[in-house]
């Protein structure tokens, strides 16, 4: 419990994680891909922040950037990632690695491939506690306790098993147990329920919610599933083609979406469609290619309300409510009209 | 439902010139591959123009003194029979290339046919052929070669036969694996439903798809064949004297190793250059065309 005293008090402090104007390119043989453009997101202490968007929106890239697990061709071109006030991007590699598995941990998308196939759950769970004090048997006891808390039945007899003995849902529980075993301040969850079927998804979401309250950590929750985000998160950021187009409290975003893309996303969510229909609605068009630099609003090619200005300048963040911002020129016009 | 054309695995609509240009673009960047190509071309040129390059009759004995050191007249000295080593080395380039061409060519043809039969024929025949392939692969190649040579007598033909037999199972297996994969693919099923016979399917659809990877595989075996031929000739089980051959020259050098190191170099260095050249070239081709090829084995 050595981290408890270091968790800052909730109200007065700055956010646990502050991503500021982060831009990131991937170098490819065909040119540079701008995967993230001026992304700014805060994760306050002990809160759950969701990131939603289609595939290719850069939401997983953001998660990997925070963890420092990007592939070699990734290149951060601007911005900072402040974690507990220190810039992760300016830290020496060793100092940054020391945070992993201690203050930061991660849950991955595919539980079937996330665990090492030739080592037992026990040896993997003991291995990851390398920052912790204590003997092997103490670490084993902690692992057993955590397996019990994530709902693995009879952990005593199952801890010696190999990953392939567990079903997908059970494996994701093991992964969650591992990620929380190190008592992180921030848990990064990259689509932890995408590979699971619907009933399991609900179970895992509830499990994460309960454990987050119990442990008091923050979660950066990446998902394309709006229902899961609504269920779990306090705040949400909507990403499109490498940009955050809208963010705010979950309640505001879902009840009063300000950006056309957010509205379109919500209209397409099968869980929120009221009347029965034979065809699921979709957003027409495709996510634009991210090769090279872009001028204008990134969403304009698919936006039903696009006008001249959208092709000429990048929209800035417009504040809507107390705690909701969106990047859309329409908001500027509305403000002008209302004034 | 996709159209039949759309799911064909190999679309050959790009022009041959364009395909070569993309290939050349990639190949040029591979420095070892270029080195290999230069070596291979050089050796091939030497083999073709050998009679023009030689300075003495490579077979005539006592054109000079025995075991003479290199001089202006005898560039690489002479051997124990007073033959000119330089001329023998130059003409010796012909045997390995000929053996590689003859043995791998026949091996490829037989392997292709047996592989197609195994991949497309009935299950029991497939199993039988697989057992046969595995058996041949279980013979230690050089020891098996020696046994065959013991029976047939040492000659170039024996060497070619032995290499053809021992390298065939690998080709047959690759062809079988690929054929089986294609056989179960949708586009073959579609062809079938439109009334195409087995022969037509094999000739028009399977053969072109199988042949490319196979040729690369075969080209990668050239250095091994050169090594086996030189090795058997080194043991005196390959070419018959007085035919000049690198392995035989190396053996002459080995016999007089404490007196005439140049003989060892005259026989050994060409073997090294030839195997290296073909290896670098083969590696480069494999990297460009099919990085996963060897994993089918």
């Amino acid at each position: 419990m050595r981290h408890d005293d270091s968790i800052p008090p909730l109200s007065f402090s700055r956010p646990l994680l502050e991503v500021r104007d982060l831009s990131l390119d991937f170098g490819t043989p065909r040119g540079r891909i701008q995967a993230l453009r001026k992304v700014s997101i805060d994760v306050p202490a002990a809160q759950v922040v969701g990131i939603v968007g289609e595939s290719g929106s850069g939401k997983s890239t953001l998660a990997y950037t925070v963890m420092g697990l990007l592939s070699e061709n990734a290149d951060v071109t601007a911005g900072s990632i402040l974690f507990e006030g220190k810039d992760l991007l300016k830290m020496p590699a060793q100092a940054r690695r020391n945070l992993l598995g201690d203050r930061l941990s991660m849950i991955f998308q595919d539980p079937m491939t996330a665990l090492n196939p030739v080592r037992t759950i026990e040896s993997q769970m003991i291995d990851i506690q390398h920052h912790e004090q204590g003997s092997r048997s103490e670490k084993r006891a902690r692992a057993l306790d955590m397996l019990h808390r994530v709902g693995i039945p009879d952990p005593q007899s199952r801890i010696g098993a190999y990953p392939h003995h567990f079903s997908g849902g059970m494996r994701q529980r093991v992964c969650i147990a591992m990620a929380l075993l190190v008592k992180p301040a921030l848990l990064v969850a990259d689509e932890p329920t995408t590979a699971l079927d619907a009933t399991l998804e609900v179970q895992i979401i509830h499990l994460l919610k309960d454990l987050q309250k119990e442990i008091g950590c923050s979660i950066l929750f990446v998902s394309h599933h709006l229902g899961a985000v609504a269920e779990l998160c306090d705040r949400v950021a909507v990403m499109y083609a490498g940009e955050v187009v809208e963010q705010g409290a979950v309640r505001d975003i879902f009840h009063n979406p300000a950006h056309p893309y957010t509205r379109a996303l919500l209209e397409c969510d099968p869980g929120r469609i009221k009347k029965s229909t034979r065809t699921l609605p979709t957003i027409p068009g495709e996510v634009p290619g991210l090769l090279g630099t872009k001028v204008g609003c990134i969403f304009r090619t698919r936006c039903r309300q696009a006008f001249d200005r959208c092709g000429q300048e990048n929209p800035v963040e417009y504040r809507i409510g107390v705690d909701q911002v969106a990047r859309c020129h329409l908001l500027d016009k509305e403000l002008l009209v209302s004034v | 439902m996709m159209s039949v054309e759309a799911i064909r695995p190999e679309a050959n609509d790009a022009t041959a010139v364009g395909a070569f240009r993309t290939f050349w673009g990639q190949f040029r960047k591979n420095r070892l591959g270029m080195l290999g190509a230069v070596l291979v071309v050089l050796i091939a040129a030497i083999a073709i123009f050998a009679p023009l390059i030689v300075t003495h009759d490579p077979i005539r004995i006592m054109v000079g003194p025995r075991l003479a050191a290199p001089s202006l007249d005898f560039l690489l000295g002479t051997d124990q029979l007073g033959r000119d080593t330089f001329s023998r080395t130059i003409l010796g380039s012909r045997i390995p290339l000929f053996v590689a061409f003859a043995s791998l060519g026949s091996s490829l043809a037989v392997g292709l046919v047996l592989g197609l039969i195994a991949g497309f024929g009935p299950r029991w025949l497939d199993n039988l052929l697989l057992l046969f392939f595995d058996t041949i692969r279980s013979f230690p190649s050089i020891i098996f070669a020696l046994a065959l040579i013991a029976l047939l007598g040492p000659s170039l033909a024996s060497v070619i036969l032995v290499i053809a037999i021992t390298s065939m199972p690998i080709y047959a297996r690759v062809v079988r694996t690929q054929t089986e994969g294609l056989r179960n693919s949708e586009y073959i099923a579609a062809e079938r439903s439109m009334g195409a016979g087995t022969t037509r399917i094999l000739a028009v659809h399977i053969l072109p798809n199988v042949l490319g990877p196979l040729v690369i595989l075969v080209s990668m075996d050239v250095p091994a064949v050169i090594a086996v031929e030189a090795g058997l000739s080194f043991l005196g089980m390959g070419v018959r004297p007085p035919t000049p051959d690198w392995g035989a020259i190396l053996n002459d050098g080995y016999s007089y190793i404490d007196q005439t190191p140049w003989l060892v170099f005259a026989g050994g260095v060409p073997i090294v250059l030839a195997t290296l050249g073909f290896t670098f070239l083969g590696e480069a081709l494999r990297e460009i065309f099919d990085p996963k090829l060897r994993k089918d084995l």
Binding site: S105, A114, P117 | S138, F139, L146, L151, L235, I257, F278
Partner: protein, 312 residues
């Protein structure tokens, strides 16, 4: 588990049976009296008569093959009429020298190659990786007998550091005599294994569970050694089994070049003197060795991976 072993054993036995039949038919296919073919031109009429009687050449082919198999089951590889000794005795007398050479060669090659392969994969495109990449292709390509002749020329003839020929007497002398032969055989294997380890290590390092392990801040080399290597080593285990065939072939040349005793030298002599029973004896014993080694490496491979271990 036992079912798997049984299956593998049956397959191995089947391969050996087919191999023996093929060899037998090969002798029969050669035109002329098989006894003359087997005994060669130097055979006396008494020898021919003895062999005729031994092989039952007057009986139908099937009976001959069955008799031959029956002899094999009793460890009878035939009789060497020249030395008046059983072939099995002669072959097994020479086998230890070859096995010793092969095992030492593969051992030093693995000890060097596995760390080299791991390092090349982790520090990809580093100077070490690039140099190793070129050198390993070269060492694989150069035939072992050429390597052996040059090693002999440099270290034994010119520098006189190491003995040139023979197997030596006693443990220490024997080891000294092994250095050059083991170097000549093993050097190609260093390249082969390190390339194999590098390739499979690169593949494993790209897998999700490795990223998961790094997400807990586990150090790079610990991940390589404890998370990646147990998986990356599996193809190498398989190749080592197949490699026995290659090693036996190299041993033939190496034993001739360094004038070492062993089955390679034995078969070359036998071919030169047309001593067919010995030739066939060596082919049978080495084929058996190879089948046993490949079967064993497949089984070891299956045992090393818990996923396959339990399915056995």
């Amino acid at each position: 588990m036992w079912l798997y072993f049984a299956k593998r054993t049956i397959l191995a036995v089947a391969i050996i049976a087919v191999a023996v039949t093929l060899l037998f038919l090969m002798i029969m296919a050669v035109p002329g009296d098989p006894a003359v073919v087997m005994l060669g031109p130097r055979a006396t009429p008494e020898m021919k008569a003895l062999l005729h009687q031994q092989m039952g050449l007057d009986k139908p082919l099937v009976v001959q093959i069955v008799t031959f198999f029956g002899g094999l089951l009793h460890g009878n590889l035939g009789f060497d009429v020249f030395s008046q000794r059983p072939v099995a005795d002669i072959v097994f007398e020479q086998l230890p020298f070859t096995l010793e050479l092969i095992l030492i060669s593969i051992l030093w090659a693995v000890v060097i190659a596995v760390p080299l392969g791991c390092y090349s994969a982790v520090r990809r495109n580093s100077l070490v990786d690039q140099v190793a990449g070129v050198v390993t292709v070269a060492t694989i390509a150069i035939p072992s007998f050429v390597m052996a002749v040059y090693a002999l020329l440099i270290f034994a003839v010119t520098l006189r550091w190491l003995p040139a020929i023979g197997a030596g007497n006693g443990l220490w002398d024997g080891l000294i005599h092994l250095i050059l032969p083991a170097f000549a055989i093993g050097i190609g294997w260093v390249g082969y294994i390190s390339r194999l380890v590098r390739a499979s290590m690169l593949e494993v390092l790209g897998e999700n569970h490795i990223r998961m392990a790094s997400s807990f801040g586990i150090s790079e080399w610990r991940i390589v050694a404890r998370y990646a290597l147990p998986l990356a080593i599996l193809p190498t285990v398989t190749i080592l089994g197949v490699g026995i065939a290659w090693l036996l072939s190299s041993a033939v040349f190496i034993e001739v070049v360094f004038a070492r005793p062993g089955i390679g030298a034995l078969i070359v002599n036998a071919v030169n003197t047309r001593n067919y029973p010995i030739v066939m004896g060596v082919v049978l014993v080495t084929t058996f060795l190879i089948v046993a080694a490949t079967t064993l490496s497949d089984v070891v491979n299956a045992l090393l991976d818990p996923r396959t271990r339990e399915k056995l």
